[in-house]
Symmetry: C2
Subunit: 127 residues, 2 copies
């Protein structure tokens, strides 16, 4: 018998406790978890983190100007910008032949909210 399992628990689950899965879902819905994983994967590479730092510093940078600071080939830069874009962390705008990238503030806000909810002071960030 598994007896002692959890210590601090949400009131609704205190007695039941069969599936921590449900309690976890109440904190992090599946769709949010999925986006968080994508954001994590985007942040899981030093080149991409450096890329974000460059954008944070310069505000807006085109792809070709990323090759030098990141010391990667053009296809590799394109690969990384795509991953960051898909994760919602940056957005690109094509002007002429240049692709201008910048941080996507809404994406960052959502990420930080998800992390706040997870790391969670058991508070009500609640709508």
């Amino acid at each position: 018998m598994d007896s002692h399992v959890t210590r601090r628990i949400i009131t609704t689950l205190r007695d039941e406790r069969p599936h921590l899965t449900e309690a976890a879902a109440s904190i992090l819905a599946a769709s949010n978890a999925q986006r968080l994983v994508a954001a994590g994967a985007a942040l899981a590479d030093p080149v991409r983190v450096q890329l974000l730092a460059v954008l944070a510093a310069a505000g807006e940078v085109c792809s070709c100007d990323l090759e030098a600071p990141l010391e990667r080939s053009q296809p590799t830069i394109s690969h990384h910008t795509r991953i960051l874009c898909d994760a919602g962390l940056i957005v690109g705008e094509k002007r002429g032949r240049w692709m201008w990238w910048r941080l996507n503030e809404p994406g960052w806000r959502e990420l930080q909210q998800t992390l706040a909810r997870l790391s969670g002071p058991p508070l009500h960030i609640e709508r």
Copy 2:
């Protein structure tokens, strides 16, 4: 020195533009970037994110009670807890033969500060 770069283009780089690298470093130091990459890698797996959600919901859970909700073998659970622990997102305490895991609040705080700095606080977190 201009230091505070804040987000919009820095005057010193507008014309010069040789090294975005330095401007990026002023926003995200190498050691912080490294920790961010580790945290990102830790969050880049759905099983680990689920594990974090379980801990967030239950407060403290031992390894053996993670196998069922995560639907993974014991070695795999051990593998994931190790990665999350190395990333500073969880901490474990051995009591008896059980390993009790919980979220590591300082680690989360640091991560959120790094993200806030990267995402371009319209503010002055300024040091």
